[in-house]
């Protein structure tokens, strides 16, 4: 499971609230993909596992 750090405040259309500085814990790969692809400036990976996964997503999108 992955963890993202919130960089900027975001109210997601599905009602989720992301506040700066908060950790988004226990995320699945599809959840991370959706957030990183749609809101790339709002999140970053917290741990190495998540950072690597995000890099894979970005490379896969090229």
């Amino acid at each position: 499971m992955y963890t993202l750090i919130v960089l900027k405040e975001l109210t997601h259309p599905d009602g989720r609230l992301f506040l700066p500085g908060h950790d988004c814990n226990a995320l699945s790969g599809s959840e991370v993909r959706e957030l990183i692809e749609n809101y790339p400036d709002y999140f970053e990976g917290k741990d190495d596992l998540t950072k690597e996964y995000i890099e894979q997503l970005k490379e896969g999108g090229k």
Partner: protein, 200 residues
């Protein structure tokens, strides 16, 4: 010995006006914000009735008290539940030391009856012990518990519930789904998330 006493003094009366509740009632109800809140509440309730999803609604009522007499002002306003409150709810679902902070016990079963808000238990338990979930938040207003149940026999798992204790207790949510066929040695990691959307 006789005498006469004549009490002397003055008496005055001050009329204390009672609150004009009727005027207040009218003035408060010509606000656009009052009716916007009322309308939004009706939409939320209709969504609940039509689709069975849980909703948050709120209202504020007031009673003015003057000289010990209560004057009912009725509904003052509808909404708005704050971001801070929903984030606080989610934080306390993880950390509260009372049973509020213990909705982390995952159970599964083999029942197939559709979910109902009146449910209080798994329909047909599968005989396995409840798993103690790891409590966290996937967003500021989204409480999440991740629990892994291990299976010791072959069965078709079709339902799941999150409870506040390892046995019995209060059920947060019961879910029914297509059978996940497991054999001895299998396990299922269940990730349960409840999101509290502010604004209600």
């Amino acid at each position: 010995m006789n005498g006469v006493t004549t009490p002397a003094g003055s008496l005055s009366i001050v009329k204390i006006p009672r609150p004009d509740t009727r005027k207040y009632y009218i003035l408060n109800r010509i606000r656009l914000g009052f009716w916007a809140g009322w309308f939004q509440k009706q939409i939320a309730l209709a969504t609940n009735k039509l689709f069975g999803v849980g909703v948050f609604t709120s209202e504020l009522r007031g009673v003015q008290i003057r000289n010990g007499i209560e004057y009912d002002l009725g509904i003052l306003s509808y909404r708005v539940v704050t971001n801070a409150f929903v984030a606080f709810l989610v934080d306390n679902l993880q950390t509260d030391t009372t049973e509020l902070g213990d909705f982390k016990y995952h159970d599964s079963g083999v029942g197939t009856t559709a979910e109902n808000a009146a449910d209080t238990a798994i329909e047909t338990t599968d005989g396995e012990s409840r798993a103690t979930g790891t409590q966290t938040e996937s967003a500021a207003n989204a409480y999440r518990s991740v629990g892994t149940i291990s299976y010791t026999t072959t069965k078709a798992i079709t339902e799941h519930g999150v409870f506040s204790q390892a046995t019995g207790a209060t059920l947060v949510d019961r879910s029914v789904f297509t059978a996940i066929n497991v054999v001895s040695g299998d396990s299922i990691q269940f990730t349960y998330t409840i999101t509290f959307t502010a604004g209600g």
